[in-house]
Amino acid sequence: MEDNLIPTYTGVYLNNKALFTEDVPQLLEPIRQQALEDFSTLGIPTNKLERYRYIDLLPSFNKKYDFYLKPNLLNLKIEDIFQCDVPQLDMKEVLTINGFYYQNNIFKGWQPDGTYVGSLRQAMHEAPEIVAKYLNKTYTANDGLLSLNSLLFLDGLFIYVPKNKSLAFPLQLINLLIANNDLFATQRNLIVLEENAAATLVVCDHALSSVQFLSNTSTEIFAEQNASLKLTMLQNVNNKATAITTTNIHQASNSQVHSVVLTLHGGMVRNNFNIKLTGEGADNQTHGLYLPDASQHIDNSVFIEHIAPHCTSNQLFKGILDDTSYAAFTGRIYVDREAQKTSAYQKCSNLLLSPQAKVNARPQLEIYADDVKCTHGATAGQVNDEAMFYLRSRGISAQEAQFLLTFAFAYEVTQNIPLGDLRFRMEELINKRLRKELGRCHNCMITLG
C-alpha cells in the first residue's frame, strides 16, 4: 500500500510542476528538491514508527482526492462568506481557503508600522530576504508528513514583526476547507518575531463541507531574543476530516511562546509540536485539551529540545473521552548536555466518560545534563467521587454534577488561554461541546455555496 502512495503524492508535484514553479522565486527550488528526495524515502509514516505508533494514517492517505493547487478566485467579501463569533473582541481576522491566503483579506502584506501580515506566496516577492532567512529553516528530514508539506505547499499565512514592535491587535487566522469533492489541502505558515517583538495569534480550523478532507498544515515559528508569542489553536473540523498539523518552534534567549491547542471535533487529528529552545532563558508552554467522542481519534505529539541552559518548558495535555473515541499523547523531553538548570514539566491527564473510550499517554525523558528539574506524569480515570457526592448532596443531579466536574477538569487548560474574552468564548464552546450541543462553532455562519 505504502509503495503505491509515494508515487501518488510525488506525482502531484512532478505532474503539476508548472503550477509549483510558476511565479515563484528561486528560493523554493532547493526546498522542493530536498523534500522530494526525503519524502521518496520516508513516505507516509506508518504505525511501525515509534512516533506514529498509535495512529494509522494510511487509510486516510490511501483515498482519491482532488488536490487544490490554484486558488479559486472568489469575488466575495469575508463578511459575506464567514462570520465567526469566537472573537467579539478587538481581534482582526484573516482567512485561508484550502491552504491559500484569501485574496480579499483586510491585510495584504506590509503594514504602515513595518509589520507584515499576508500571503506567504506574495511575501516571497515582497519580503524575499526575510522569507529566505527563515522559510523551511525548522525542517528536519525525519518525518514524511513534513517532507510532503515542504513538497506541496503553495501558500499560507506570513507574519513578520520587526524588532521592538508588537502586532497591534490579536490576529485570528481562520483556515477554511471548502469543496464539492474529497479534497487534499496543504498549507505552510511562517511566523517571524524579531528581537523584543510580540504577537497574539488565534488559529481556527473549520471544515465547511461534508466531503472527506485531508489537510496537511505546517507552521514555522521563530521567536528571537525576548520575543513573545501567544498562540491559541481551535480545531473543529468534521468527523470525516483528517487534520494533520506540524508546528515547529525555534526560540532564542528569553523568548516566550505559549500555546494552547483545543480539539473539539475532528475525525482523525494529529498534532505535532517540535520545539527547540536554543537560547538561554527561553520559556515554552504548550498545553492541549482534546474532547473526542463518537469514534474520533486525536493524537498529540510534543517534542521539546532543551539545547541552551536556564530554559523552562511546561506541557499540560488533558483529554475528555466519550463513546468509542481514542486519544494518544506522546511527550518527549530532550535535555542536552549543555542545558544545565533546565526546568521541564509534563503532565497528561484523561477523563474517560465511557468504558469503550481509550487513551495512550507516553511521557519520554532523555536527559544528558545533571543539574535539571524534570517531572512527568500521566493519568486516566473518572471524575472524583468525593466531589461528585459533595455536589449531589447540595441538590445537584448526578448528570449535572458530572457535567460540572468534567468542565472543571478542562479548566486547568482553558485558564491558560491568553485573552479573557477569548477564554470565555472558548469555555462556552467547550460547554456546548460537552453537552453535545455543538455542531459547528456557536454562531459560525457560512453563506458560501
Binding site: L391, R394, I396, A398, E400, A401, E412
Partner: protein, 253 residues
C-alpha cells in the same frame, strides 16, 4: 421530622451501626457524641446517601417519606443538609455557578421559579454576612485554597443559602479556632427556627457551649448507649468516655 428505626449499616461487610433508634422533631437540636470510631460519621453518611455504606436493616423516615429510597440529591431537595467534616476542593467549578445550580434545583423542587442573577447575588451577599465570610471567597472555585476555617464557614454559608429543614453538622468544630467557632455557631443559631431541626455531631463538648442542644446522645460501638439533656455533654467533658464504655461493656458481659 426524622425517625430512625433499628438502623444497621455496614461498610465492606463490616457492621458499623448496630441498631440505632432516634427521633428528631422540628425545633429540636440533637447532639450526637461519642469516641472515635463509634459510627458518628457513618450515621451522617447514611442520612445523606453515601453509596459505599450498605444499610442492612432498619428504616429512616423523613417528613413521612422513606429516606433510604432517595438519591443524595433528592434528599437535599427534600431539605436535608450536611455540613461536611472535610469539605472537598473542586478547582474549576466556580462557587457562583455551583451555588446557583444547587439553589435553583432546590427551588424547582419546591415549586419556585429560578432566581435572576441580580436576586441571586443579593441573596448571596446577605447570607455571606451571616458567617462573616470574605466576599472574595465566592469569586473562587469551590473551597479551592480556602483555609480550614474558611471551608467550615463556607459550609454554614451554603446552609444559610439553601435553607434546609434538617441540618447535620459533622464535626464542624474540628480545625476551628475559638473566634471562628463562635462565628460559625452564631450562624447556626441564627438559622435555627421552630420549623427546623439540627443534628450536631461532635467529639468534644466545646461546640455545645455555643450551640445548646435539647438532647445529647452518646454513640458507642454502633449504638446509642445513653440519651439525656444538655447536662450529659458536661458530664462527658469532665469524665471522658471511659466511664461510659466501662458501664456499657459491663452490661454486655
Amino acid at each position: 421530622m426524622l425517625v430512625i428505626k433499628n438502623l444497621h449499616a455496614s461498610i465492606d461487610g463490616k457492621e458499623i451501626l448496630k441498631g440505632i433508634n432516634l427521633e428528631v422533631k422540628a425545633g429540636e437540636i440533637h447532639a450526637i457524641m461519642g469516641p472515635n470510631g463509634s459510627g458518628k460519621s457513618t450515621l451522617a453518611g447514611v442520612l445523606t446517601g453515601r453509596d459505599y455504606i450498605d444499610v442492612t436493616e432498619g428504616e429512616i423516615w423523613f417528613e413521612g417519606k422513606n429516606l433510604l429510597e432517595m438519591d443524595p440529591e433528592e434528599r437535599a431537595r427534600e431539605g436535608i443538609f450536611l455540613s461536611f467534616q472535610y469539605p472537598v476542593e473542586i478547582p474549576g467549578v466556580s462557587m457562583i455557578s455551583f451555588l446557583r445550580t444547587a439553589l435553583n434545583e432546590i427551588r424547582k423542587h419546591r415549586g419556585l421559579p429560578p432566581l435572576s442573577s441580580g436576586d441571586f447575588l443579593k441573596l448571596m451577599r446577605e447570607k455571606q454576612q451571616l458567617v462573616e465570610m470574605d466576599a472574595k471567597l465566592t469569586g473562587r472555585s469551590v473551597n479551592e485554597g480556602f483555609s480550614g476555617g474558611e471551608k467550615k464557614r463556607n459550609e454554614i454559608f451554603q446552609m444559610a443559602l439553601l435553607e434546609p429543614k434538617l441540618s447535620i453538622l459533622d464535626e464542624t468544630d474540628s480545625g476551628l479556632d475559638i473566634d471562628a467557632l463562635r462565628i460559625v455557631a452564631n450562624g447556626v443559631n441564627k438559622l435555627h427556627s421552630p420549623q427546623k431541626a439540627t443534628i450536631v455531631i461532635t467529639h468534644y463538648q466545646r461546640l455545645l457551649e455555643y450551640i445548646v442542644p435539647d438532647y445529647v446522645h452518646v454513640l458507642y460501638d454502633g449504638k446509642i448507649v445513653k440519651s439525656a439533656g444538655k447536662e450529659l455533654a458536661l458530664e462527658l467533658e469532665e469524665k471522658g468516655y471511659e466511664w461510659l464504655k466501662k458501664e456499657v461493656d459491663t452490661v454486655i458481659e
